[in-house]
Each structure stands twice: as structure tokens, then as C-alpha cells.
Symmetry: D2
Subunit: 145 residues, 4 copies
């Protein structure tokens, strides 16, 4: 098990009139990090899945806690791991921190779907195998109790 | 008690390559609806609170379930009520539906803060009084058990 | 000839850390106004054109002058007219103002395309007829000299 | 003279229902590239200029031609150079290409302003000196004729 990590710079365009990251921008950042995890960690791309395999991975759930605000220029560390893995769905835990301070805690559930029919379908075996590398077993055991 | 309701048209710019609303765009819509609730329901504006009273209302929590996808051209009904009201925070329940079908269910927690010091502070009395008009007492009682 | 007009409220989410509308947000507003012009003025929808007639209207050109900044809470008036009409393209002049002060001046060129082949194609006759209602002939004559 | 170059990946969140980059997203990318040019090329940051020197650099003009569409997964090369340099303003030429194909051509004018007073002011000498490294003299000579 290992977490997937990536740094995201807080840009001018992410910040609101109060000078801090506007919450909707975090969801764009999160989507970018999940996209990079697919590409770097799972060795497939959103675009490839959609165009060549008719697979989409819509989000069906978010639980998000904003612990501390982020400012323009902050370099945020996104750390992603899988905390539960079903036949058709994948539960992610993502933490966002900066210089050791927690900024955001996210639980996100992705469902694998037939993009045309918009119906859930099993995660392909090749993907499932690679997703397991990011599975935090302790978290999964806890979540099943 | 009454819910605050508002319609939002799903635009081209809200939709992703799968042809449905991209999740980050829902958070922009939600922010717009909360903003309109402040203006129409609470008779204050985000801008006025920030500039004249140094008050900001950052979101500290979201729980969001995406039940069904929304398409370009859909006219979504956002329905907002207050389900818990603290001294410094306000818990909102927002449901998004279209022609009777539930699309998204949101629980959002706003905290009232001193915008410069970025510290929580009590909700001003005039606002508190008006927020109570949107309080769903049944929901609040349940949430306290 | 008559201009198509629509009001857009400047929201919290449109504004940047300097407290004014961030330029990329103007392009989202412009797209929304053009979308409403199609729906209200031309009696077709972006969604309908795309899904039922395989027609898209990508923008191929923008000239934009930002004359004065806009603030959160401003109610902007967008005024749109057609200044040149070709077989496959349509030149729009859009002005954005607030309480008589000009904020933004836009020239935008839309091309009608086959959405699947991504190639220009003639504007359908029914649309062409309705687009002419918004044609400013003086502007067109000037632009042809 | 040398151009500042940077690569930008086209993400899912940049693309519209037609599967190509939505124009407003290009303006977010452009802002990010200009921000990186300030940081990497001019050795100052947007955030630092704003907070420590009360300097903002709003855009007062854009001329943009969208030559060819970009798809999800494309790695776009943004190439930026200065084509005219005034006392208070800086004209940028930005080209966006992918595998040798031109996608977008941009002319952007930034004005240096006192962020609080929102009035133009001279570009500080240290910045001016570094901006000159990116000045394309041929372009500047042509633009003065």
C-alpha cells in the first residue's frame, strides 16, 4: 500500500474576494489529482477510458471538511489512498495539507459506469489490480465493521 | 418554516465531455443559491456583509450525494432549509431536483467569521432572527438526538 | 433591428482576490448570454442544436476591451447585436455596462459547424432568418468598407 | 530575447459537451501561464506583488483567434513573448500549439496598477529590466510603424 501524492499550486484564479481558495476550485483540483492518479498510478487516462473503452467514473458522493483556509501561492500536497474497493465502486480518502497543516479532508466515491448507457458496471480486472496498490487495508477493515 | 427555492438552468458551460453537469459546477450553483438566499431570504448581501460588516461565511463542511445526472437544458429546482442553527454556524440541507427526480442532496455547514481575523464570531442578532424563518424544527430536533 | 439585452448579477464566485470580476468569468457570462439569445431570441437551444441537429457554434475569434472593473453585487447589462452575417459565421458585438458606465466591449465570431465532423457548414435557413432580426445594418455596412 | 514556454495538459474539467476545450477555460490556462512567467521568468509572484507591493496587473485587452480545437489529453505548449513595452503596460503575444499545430493565438495587454486605488502606475524598474529579456524587438519595431 502506498498513497499517491501530488503538489498543486494555489493560483490567483483559485482565490475569492476574501483572498482564500473558493470551495468550488478545490473540487476542480481534486478532479485533476484523481485524473493524474489514473494516468500515473493506474496507467490509464480518463480520455482513453471514455473514448476507447466507453468507461466513465462519475462521483456519487463527497464528504468534505475544510479545516483551514489556503492562500494564493501555497503549494498544497494532495495525498490519495483507496479506503474501500467494491465491484463497481471505489472509495477514496484524500487529504490536502500545506507545510504540515491540514487544509481539507475528502472522502469521495467513484462509480464505474458504461458511459453511453450511464449504468454502473464492474471495474475491469486490469484496473482493479492496479487500484489495489493504493488500498489502505487498515482503513478498509475499519470501514467494514 | 419554509424552504427557500430557486431554479437554475443547466448551461453548456456546466457540462462535461460525458454531456452531464461536472461536479465542481454544482458547487458554483450551490454558492449562487446560498448567495440569493442571503439576498432574498435574509435581506443582506455577501458583498455588503464583507465590505460593510467585515463578515464572511466560509463553508467548513459538505456532504453531497449525486443521485442522478443532470443534462444541458434541465431546469433544476434548488430547495434550501436550515436544519441546525448554532451561535456561530448554520447547517443547511439543500436538495436539487428536476421534474420530480432527485438529482443531488447536500448538507453544508457555514461558519460566520470575522473576515480580517478569519476567526468564528457569533451570528449577528438581525441575521439570526431571519435565518430562523428557514429553520426546519423537525430536522433540528432529530439532529440533536 | 433590435439588440438582445440581458442582466447578469456579479456574484462572489466571479470575483478575484482584488475584489473585481476575474476575466475568465466574463467569458462564462458571455457564453450564458449568447446561449440565452439562442433560446429567447432565435428560438432554438444549444442543447437542441447539438443533440437533434448535430450543430455546434464554436467561437473562432474574440476581441475584448476591459474598460472598467466590475464589483461583486453589480447588475451588469449585456447588450448583443449582430454586426456581420456570413453564410457560415456570425459576428456579434456585445457591450457590458452598469449604471451607464461601459465595462467591457466584445467582438465575437461564431462559426456554425457539423459537430461530429467539426467542419463549418451553412447556417440553416430558419436560424438565418431569425438572426437577421438582430442585425445592425449600419455596423454591417461599415464593416464591409 | 527568448520566449517563455510552458506545457499545459488538457484536462477533463477543461472540456465541454462537444469534447473540446471550452473557451473560458483557455483564459484560465492563459492566466496560469502568465502567473508562471511572473514567477519563473520575472522572479516575482502575483501574490507577492499584490500583498507586499500593492501592485495588480489587470488585463485591459484580449485579441484571441481559435485556429483549431484541443481535446482532452492534449499537451499544449504555451509560448509567451513581449511584443510592446510601455511605461505602464506590457503587450504579450501568446501562441498555443500541440504537436506543431497551432491551436490559439493571443494578444493580451496588461496594465500595472495600484491595487487599492485601481489606477495605472509605472512598472517598477526591477520588473521592467527582467520583462525586457522576453521582448521580441522585431515585433516591437513592427508594432510602432
Amino acid at each position: 500500500m502506498s498513497a499517491y501524492q501530488r503538489e498543486v499550486l494555489v493560483r490567483f484564479a483559485h482565490c475569492d474576494p476574501a483572498g482564500i481558495v473558493f470551495h468550488a476550485r478545490y473540487f476542480e483540483m481534486i478532479n485533476g489529482v484523481v485524473e493524474d492518479w489514473f494516468e500515473d498510478g493506474l496507467e490509464v487516462s480518463f480520455a482513453g477510458l471514455l473514448h476507447h473503452r466507453n468507461l466513465a467514473t462519475p462521483t456519487v458522493h463527497f464528504t468534505v471538511d475544510f479545516a483551514n483556509p489556503s492562500m494564493m501561492g501555497d503549494r498544497l500536497t494532495f495525498s490519495l489512498e483507496v479506503v474501500e474497493l467494491g465491484k463497481r465502486s471505489c472509495h477514496l480518502a484524500i487529504t490536502v495539507s500545506c507545510r504540515g497543516e491540514e487544509r481539507v479532508r475528502v472522502k469521495q466515491i467513484l462509480v464505474f459506469t458504461d458511459a453511453k448507457a450511464n449504468k454502473a458496471k464492474p471495474i475491469p480486472a486490469d484496473l482493479l489490480r492496479r487500484i489495489r496498490h493504493f488500498l489502505n487495508k487498515d482503513a478498509e477493515d475499519r470501514s467494514k465493521k
